[in-house]
């Protein structure tokens, strides 16, 4: 049984200060989805295997399902809702979105990756996205979307 005692946690979420009250054993993913009902960040496995829950913690992509809320205290979190429109637009235009459940995770990973590497090769793209699983697309159009977002095509 998990600890039931709730505590307060404060952090910056998509540019705004937030305070939540929840058990310290909650993950950031649980806080986002179950407490704040900010559901752009998806839960595909809760075990660090699929990347659907990817958010930026102080600018670096992390699995929010493996990040305890206590680790987030005082830090800066950006979710898919806080990512600019270029990357999502390129995913949509390239047809990389089918069921779409995995896509927010891809969008967050891509945004962080392109920040570091604005003109990647295809191999670099595939390496960067290796932790994000998609069951629908076969990844072809996802690679194209990242290329497009990087200004490579289109």
């Amino acid at each position: 049984m998990r600890l039931r005692l709730s505590k307060q946690f404060s952090f910056v979420l998509n540019g705004e200060a937030v305070t939540v009250t929840c058990p310290p054993a909650y993950t950031l993913l649980e806080v986002l989805r179950h407490v704040l009902h900010l559901t752009g960040t998806k839960d595909g496995c809760s075990s660090g295997d699929c990347g659907a829950c990817t958010v930026l913690l102080d600018g670096r992509p992390v699995h929010s399902c493996l990040t305890l809320i206590s680790q987030v205290e005082g830090r800066n979190v950006v979710t898919v809702e806080g990512i600019g429109e270029n990357v999502p637009k390129c995913y949509a235009e390239e047809g990389a979105v089918q069921c779409g459940y995995c896509i927010p995770g891809f969008v967050v990973t891509t945004a962080a990756f392109l920040e570091e590497n604005p003109s990647p090769t295809e191999d670099e793209i595939r390496d960067a996205l290796r932790g994000n699983l998609c069951r629908c697309t076969g990844y072809v159009k996802i690679v194209n979307a990242v290329k497009k977002a990087a200004g490579g095509i289109g």
């Binding site: 049984m1 998990r2 039931r4 058990p23 989805r33 179950h34 009902h37 559901t39 752009g40 960040t41 998806k42 839960d43 595909g44 496995c45 809760s46 075990s47 660090g48 295997d49 699929c50 659907a52 979710t79 898919v80 809702e81 990512i83 429109e85 990357v87 999502p88 637009k89 995913y91 949509a92 235009e93 047809g95 990389a96 979105v97 089918q98 069921c99 779409g100 459940y101 995995c102 896509i103 927010p104 969008v107 595939r126 390496d127 996205l129 290796r130 932790g131 994000n132 699983l133 998609c134 069951r135 629908c136 697309t137 076969g138 990844y139 072809v140 159009k141 996802i142 690679v143």
Partner: protein
């Protein structure tokens, strides 16, 4: 319809894509109604046991617990489409490791999860039957009354012994394929509440709102008008949400407590309790004459349905129908069994029984071509079905048959025509390259079973139209395709088309979203609705304006007659003022065929066809196989949207590669050991090669604008194409999936 298509065949970006990519779309798992109860499921700890006692008293006393439900709360505790063999909550027995026994509804997730642990069940373990061959024996412990063979059938045409005597080459093999897990990214999920009209409303991932509604009302003994089912955007399904998962459980909680509820399976529950692709054993003896004609196919098919039948009876039919490949064969003898075991429940998965038998048949065909010294594509072309041919079941093919076109396209693909160049590429001395081909066939629509669908169209006051149907958006893009067909038929801009889907309260019954049928059914029903709308509008105009109209048509947002023109919005407003119905429906019914004796739904009237070409690299030191290039060719009738079409085929190819090489569920004595995505591996972006998609358009006159189904064909021939390529590379033939490094390593080792 205007002469040049404006929307059909156009690459239009999916309307739902951007919102999904921003994280703004609400899937069932994203919904948190006010004052909800969290639901958790107590599941069987044994693959097979008698239940002696269920004690929920401790759980009921746990903090936050509002209610605990068992079979005693379910009025009719059995459901199932073909056989009512599945309990909503287990009563006397559990039959597989994830079988649900009780539900806890509590104020918080933690409360529900802790209380589930406090439920006590006394079991008397029973013999566990996991091998389908054992299960078929009379001595095996019966998992259900009536024994472990749920269905057996035999279908023969011609005389196989005569066929073999006329054959120059005969090959005989046994093939096995493993369970495949759908592993959609959104697990089975839903919420429930009482809506404003007092109905128990279930919002859950699924593929057929009316069928889900039917299963809820029949098990809970409720009148249909008391239950509403809505299927929002679904985070992947692939057949795995064709059966009931959370729906009845949610309805039960809300029915009994009056409160909203939320039930989302975690990944492990999804892997254990969700349905799977049937594992199979297929024995085949196939003969061909000296001039390369297939003469006979003698087949035994055993599909393991696990603890319950689910859609297994229909899956077995599809296996029987497709085990001869897209070929003319004068003599066939097919025996098939659907067998209960204490393994996980198998049901629908993209391909619906076809991938297993095509894995076998396409390797048979490859061996026959080799033995006769023929090119494998030419051999297939020689035997390929053509329009007007009599198929193996004596039925004449009067609809589109694009297999020859697909094979011609394969022949002209550089990977085939210049395969020597591809194979000559040197990497390391221990890496061997090979190229393989395989073909596939599958019926779409529900074959000889009744199959109809209705769509309605409403003229909106702002000049747009609302198209309503119970089809579900499981990622495949049917909403987009239907929008494009509607925009074309009504000659309006696509932004003027609103789609209302999958809500038993708001949409007519378009029936199930499976069997690659929905684009075809919804598109054809929409055509009928457009015709009916013309009639309806003509009547209204004649009555209201007192003019005689003929030759009415839709043109760029206007209804145009011989000497007048009225905009959609003007018309809709005029109708509203006069209190005239603005919604009209259309129904399409698939022409009925008589099922052949011994089958439920064979034959289909409509078939789709495909060919895969694979280039593989086999590491002869480790046995590891990779696929640097895959070509997917499919006869799609007519492309409605090139982007969604290629997306479907690329995704199917990736699932096929996973099935062929990676996806390796470890099941020991009925217990799945690989219960997460780090032990059951689905392809990542690093595993998927360059995929080239070649659509072949062999128009189906009965289809909307010539279109056929497309959802399933892409996966079926992938695994055998890879198997044939492995043989081409290293001369060993893996006759089972997945073709893991260990398997190939030992085959190579035993060869030398």
């Amino acid at each position: 319809m205007t002469a040049a298509a404006r929307w059909v065949g156009k690459e239009v970006v999916r309307k739902d894509a951007y919102e999904k990519a921003r994280g703004l779309t609400k899937y069932a798992s994203d919904m948190f109604p006010e004052n909800l109860l969290w639901v958790a499921t107590h599941r069987s700890k044994y693959p097979h046991a008698r239940i002696k006692r269920i004690d929920v008293s401790k759980a009921l006393k746990m903090p936050g617990v509002v209610a605990v439900f068992t079979h005693r709360d379910v009025p009719n505790n059995r459901y199932g489409v073909f056989v009512k063999d599945r309990p909503v909550l287990c009563d006397d027995r559990v039959r597989y490791i994830g079988d649900p026994i009780a539900l806890v509804a509590a104020e918080t997730k933690e409360d529900a999860e802790s209380a589930v642990e406090e439920i006590e069940v006394d079991y008397e373990p029973l013999p566990v039957v996991t091998d389908p061959i054992e299960a078929m024996k009379d001595s095996s412990y019966p998992i259900h009354d009536g024994g472990n063979v749920s269905r057996r059938t035999r279908i023969t045409f011609g005389d196989v012994s005569k066929g073999f005597s006329q054959s120059k080459a005969v090959v005989e093999n046994e093939y096995r394929t493993s369970t495949q897990i759908h592993a959609f990214l959104e697990t089975e999920a839903g919420i429930s509440y009482i809506d404003e009209k007092g109905r128990i409303t279930v919002v859950a991932g699924g593929q057929s709102p009316y069928r889900d509604q039917h299963e809820i009302v029949s098990t809970l003994n409720l009148p249909p008008e008391k239950v509403r089912v809505i299927i929002p955007q679904v985070g992947g399904a692939f057949g795995g949400k064709d059966d009931i998962s959370v729906q009845i459980h949610l309805a039960l909680v809300t029915w009994k407590t009056g409160r909203p509820a939320r039930l989302v399976w975690d990944r492990e529950e999804s892997f254990l309790s969700g349905t799977k692709r049937h594992p199979s054993i297929v024995k085949m003896k196939t003969g061909a004459s000296a001039d390369g004609r297939l003469m006979a196919n003698d087949v035994e098919i055993i599909y393991d349905t696990g603890a319950y039948v689910a859609l297994g009876h229909a899956v077995l039919d599809v296996a029987i129908e497709n085990c001869n490949g897209p070929y003319k064969i004068p003599n066939i003898d097919i025996k098939a069994w659907l067998v209960y075991t204490n393994n996980m429940v198998a049901s629908a998965f993209r391909g619906f029984g076809a991938p297993q038998v095509i894995f076998a048949m396409e390797q048979q065909v490859d061996q026959l071509a080799k033995e006769l010294g023929m090119d494998p594509v030419e051999f297939r072309l020689l035997n390929a079905l053509r329009r007007g041919d009599v198929m193996v079941f004596g039925n004449r093919l009067e609809t589109s048959v694009g297999i020859a076109k697909c094979l011609e396209a394969a022949k002209n693909t550089p990977l085939w025509s210049r395969q020597a160049d591809f194979k000559a590429v040197k990497t390391y001395p221990w890496i061997k390259r090979g190229v393989g081909v395989a073909a596939a066939v599958k019926g779409y629509t529900i074959g000889a079973l009744p199959d109809r669908g209705t769509i309605s169209v409403e003229l909106l006051l702002d000049g747009g139209i609302a198209v309503k149907g119970s089809f579900t958006e499981i990622g495949q893009g049917v909403v987009q395709s239907v929008s494009q067909i509607a925009a074309e038929l009504f000659s309006v801009d696509i932004d003027k088309v609103e789609i209302v889907f999958a809500d038993t309260d708001k949409t007519p019954d378009t029936s199930v979203t499976s069997a690659s049928r929905q684009l075809f059914l919804a598109g054809n029903a929409l055509k009928e609705a457009a015709k009916n709308m013309i009639k309806h509008v003509a009547q209204f105009i004649e009555k209201t304006y007192n003019i005689k109209v003929d030759n009415l048509r839709f043109e760029n947002g206007y209804v145009v007659g011989r000497d007048f023109k009225i905009s959609f919005s003007e018309l809709a407003n005029a109708m509203a003022r006069s209190g005239v119905e603005r919604e009209v429906s259309g129904t399409y019914e698939v022409p009925r065929v008589q099922p052949i004796p011994g089958s439920l739904e064979i034959p289909h009237l409509f078939y789709m066809f495909g060919v895969s070409l694979a280039l593989v690299e086999v590491n002869t030191l480790t046995g590891a196989v990779s696929v640097p290039k895959l070509v997917s060719i499919a006869d799609v009738g007519k492309v409605i949207n090139p982007q969604t079409l290629t997306g479907q085929l690329e995704g199917a190819a990736a699932q096929g590669i996973g099935y062929a090489l990676l996806e390796d569920p470890k099941i020991e004595n009925g217990i799945l050991k690989t219960t997460n995505l780090s032990t059951y591996l689905i392809p990542s972006i690093k595993d998927i090669p360059e995929i080239e998609v070649i659509p072949v358009e062999d128009a189906e006159e009965s289809g909307p604008f010539g279109a056929k189904g497309i959802g399933e064909i892409g996966i079926i021939s992938v695994a055998p194409a890879i198997a044939n390529a492995i043989y081409d590379a290293v001369g060993v033939r893996p006759k089972s999936t997945p073709m893991t490094p260990e398997k190939i390593y030992w085959l190579l080792k035993n060869k030398c």
